[in-house]
């Protein structure tokens, strides 16, 4: 057997594990778009000016509230989602629309939110590798440079998060990482002492420490730098949201489904067993989503209560309650976000043209706990959704 033979076998076998197409897959395709009469957002990239004066940003620290799925909630229908107004009208307190490029044309990506009015954005030096951070003020519509991010060839900057008045990130090589920080008010980046003998994936702030996942398990390190320590019981687990971490499983997916969660503070284990014939069951801390045996999508509590039917093939379960639903149409496709707790839905206004060979969507995966962002290519804006605001707002 050569690797080519193995590859043939592997691909055949994987194909046999693909889910069967539920009726919802083809249900909406032939329908024409509802004529959308909403005014398009004006591109605001032209209004961006880089200023150098900085102010210290007020940082909002909120802990997530538990999400409770109401046991008597009715099904959410396709009509409630497709044709929904733009996300900024549905969740005005949680959605920011910011420029997608600097005046000189360099593209911006969303990194993190700081306070009520500031979005931290980055330019890329190479693919997915930030080389500078900018702060965009939603009120003054001005953008200023926060810091330069230095990486050498082969290194990647990632994991940007806000701690009080500073920004922390890590720079990884293939096998290790170094923590960096810079003042949010603007200034040079400084390397934090120590180093991580891992490539961190999800990282979050917990008190005065950083908690992160790596291939080897869950670790913590002082937020001011120092020596990382393994979190007891976290070996082989992936951090969903402190203190909950899950193991890689199950058979039909390559994503982590978080059906088995371990509380790294108490050792409590929560296990979800999908019903017979159910597919793609992915869980968050309190909620699970998946496809029933008949192909219909559902969401329900981890404890099995409060099941609610969902339209189409929604994706993910960001912050335990936001799902993405792509509405593919012959003329123009669109991605919607759906709050499965309240039934409210909003359009990302991506306006994906059917004759374009590339398109952008958000992967609304369950490990997204803070924010989602998407590029509105036509409008040259980024739309940023503050998930914590949606969770705390209801």
């Amino acid at each position: 057997m050569t690797i080519e033979d193995d590859l043939r076998t592997t691909l055949r076998r994987a194909a046999a594990h693909a889910p069967l197409a539920p009726p919802a897959l083809v249900a909406g395709i032939g329908r024409r778009s509802r004529r959308r009469t909403r005014a398009r957002l004006l591109a605001s990239a032209a209004a961006v000016v880089v200023v150098t004066a900085g102010t210290v940003l007020a940082i909002r620290q909120e802990s997530p509230r538990p999400v409770v799925v109401n046991p008597s909630l009715p099904a959410i229908t396709r009509e409630q989602v497709v044709g929904a107004p733009p996300v900024e009208e549905v969740w005005p307190e949680a959605v920011r629309v910011v420029p997608a490029a600097l005046r000189d044309g360099r593209r911006l990506r969303a990194l993190a939110l700081a306070g009520d009015r500031t979005a931290l954005l980055s330019t890329w030096g190479s693919h997915e590798n930030a080389n500078a951070v900018y702060a965009y003020d939603q009120v003054t519509r001005q953008i200023r440079k926060v810091t330069d991010v230095r990486t050498r060839k082969g290194e990647i900057s990632d994991g940007f998060l806000v701690d009080g008045d500073r920004l922390i990130w890590h720079v990884t090589t293939g096998t290790s990482a170094v923590l960096w920080q810079a003042p949010l008010s603007g200034g040079p980046a400084r390397r934090l002492p120590g180093g991580l003998p891992h490539v961190p994936a999800r990282m979050e702030l917990h008190g005065d420490r950083l908690v992160y996942s790596a291939r080897e398990g869950v670790f913590t390190v002082p937020a001011t730098g120092g020596r990382p320590e393994p979190v007891p019981g976290g070996q082989g687990l992936f951090l969903l949201e402190w203190p909950w971490a899950g193991a890689f499983e199950p058979a039909d997916m390559i994503e982590i489904a978080f059906r088995r969660l371990v509380n790294l503070e108490t050792g409590e284990v929560s296990e979800v067993t999908p019903g017979p014939g159910e597919k793609n069951v992915i869980c968050g801390v309190t909620t699970c989503s998946g496809l029933r045996a008949d192909g219909g999508a559902f969401v329900r509590g981890r404890d099995g209560t409060g099941e609610r039917a969902l339209p189409g093939l929604p994706h993910g379960l960001a912050a335990d309650r936001i799902m993405g639903l792509t509405d593919s149409r012959p003329e123009e496709s669109e991605q919607y976000l759906l709050d499965v707790t309240t039934g409210r839905a909003g359009s990302l206004e991506l306006d994906i043209p059917a004759d374009d060979e590339s398109y952008t969507t958000i992967a609304v995966t369950v490990d997204r706990r803070d924010m989602l962002s998407a590029h509105r290519i036509g409008a040259e804006t980024l739309v940023i959704i503050d998930l914590r605001r949606i969770v705390s707002g209801s």
Partner: protein, 165 residues
């Protein structure tokens, strides 16, 4: 507006096979569903022309492959896709090597993966792959060779691989 009955019949009949193709292209059921839906929507728009002149199945598969290499998703590299240590498939105890290969495929760039899927799942020639993806034959060979080298480096050579050198 009602669907064209021919289109509806085609979509219903081929949805499972297309979803399988989307799954090996993308490696996960969500992207598979998105690719399938998006490609079928585009097929629907082109239906009168495609039905008359082309093969709808070929049209939709080419669209899926092209979409796959161009889709930009808001997902970071490592997110939940790296190397699950104990992933198991629930049927007839597949070899560890196959599981390792499937995971290693998830680490390939979209283009390399697409070339390998077209070669080893669709059994297309390099000339056909070049046409499907809109790239040169040399680029197809280069993607295939880089992709295979990367897979080998992750899961190791087989005896046969070594004897071929």
């Amino acid at each position: 507006m009602s669907q064209d009955p021919d289109f509806a019949a085609f979509a219903a009949e081929r949805a499972d096979a297309l979803l399988r193709y989307g799954y090996v292209l993308s490696g996960n059921p969500h992207d598979a569903a998105d690719l399938t839906q998006e490609a079928l929507a585009r097929l629907h728009r082109a239906w009168p022309r495609v039905r008359r002149r082309d093969d709808p199945e070929a049209y939709v598969r080419v669209t899926m492959a092209r979409l796959h290499i161009s889709v930009w998703r808001g997902r970071r590299r490592e997110h939940l896709a790296w190397d699950p240590p104990d992933l198991t498939w629930d049927d007839d105890r597949p070899a560890d090597r196959e599981q390792g290969l499937w995971r290693a495929l998830a680490g390939l760039p979209h283009r390399q993966r697409a070339v390998l899927v077209l070669r080893y799942y669709e059994d297309r020639t390099d000339a056909e792959i070049a046409q499907v993806l809109g790239i040169s034959r040399g680029t197809v060979r280069s993607h295939a060779s880089h992709g295979l080298a990367r897979l080998r480096s992750v899961i190791g050579d087989t005896e046969a691989d070594r004897s071929l050198r």
